[in-house]
Symmetry: C2
Subunit: 140 residues, 2 copies
Amino acid sequence: MTDDVIDGVIDGVIARWHRYLGGELPGGLDDLLADDVVFYSPVVYTPQRGKPVTKQYLEAASQTLAGGAGGTFRYTKQVLAGNTAVLEFETSLEGRYVNGVDVIRCDADGRIVEFRVMLRPLQGIQAVHEQMGRRLAAGG
Amino acid sequence: MTDDVIDGVIDGVIARWHRYLGGELPGGLDDLLADDVVFYSPVVYTPQRGKPVTKQYLEAASQTLAGGAGGTFRYTKQVLAGNTAVLEFETSLEGRYVNGVDVIRCDADGRIVEFRVMLRPLQGIQAVHEQMGRRLAAGG
């Protein structure tokens, strides 16, 4: 596993990410994340290292941001180059607008080694923070 | 001015953006921004429309994030594709770590039509929010 850029690897990773979100990826996140993946939260400074904790955050985040039945989550931009993808999205949570980016970096084997989330505006971040906190507390 | 993707236009825009930040772009932001550019703040929901207000925000933001003499601002990722660029950066403000992205979209003429900023973590956003507020109040 190296940081060498191999053309097209990130495209395959993002295709698999969308399949994961659609519930259609056999193996799920276990197959998509590198063992030493690092998750960078939109709220907390400290990087979350390793597959188990990253999986926990991504599962909670995708459930939170999807907004349940009738959720308005949609990706609005997809920028892929080298070993990195930036996916911009919009959703709403308890009536509050949330706009964000997933910054995803992969290795040459097509595993995600870095997953970084940023959100705007401030009220949207606070809505996500509250719901994520409840969900992680309930799940863990 | 259209949204058609013309290969390489965004590369030129980002090269000029870096020259602007270095104080080396003749014409400055006036030359770089489309008249109908929209700025999306990391803090506030309401889009800021038009060149004058976008210029005011970008000038305040670049001064705030540069952190003055001895500033630690640096770009850490650059992802360019189609008519869009995402630049990730790190800096610190009053001892608080700030990580962010500039999402920049241009038209076929090489003018910026959309500038979107997102920040993490929460403490970093709050530091930027406070300093930007003081700077914008002082400036106008």
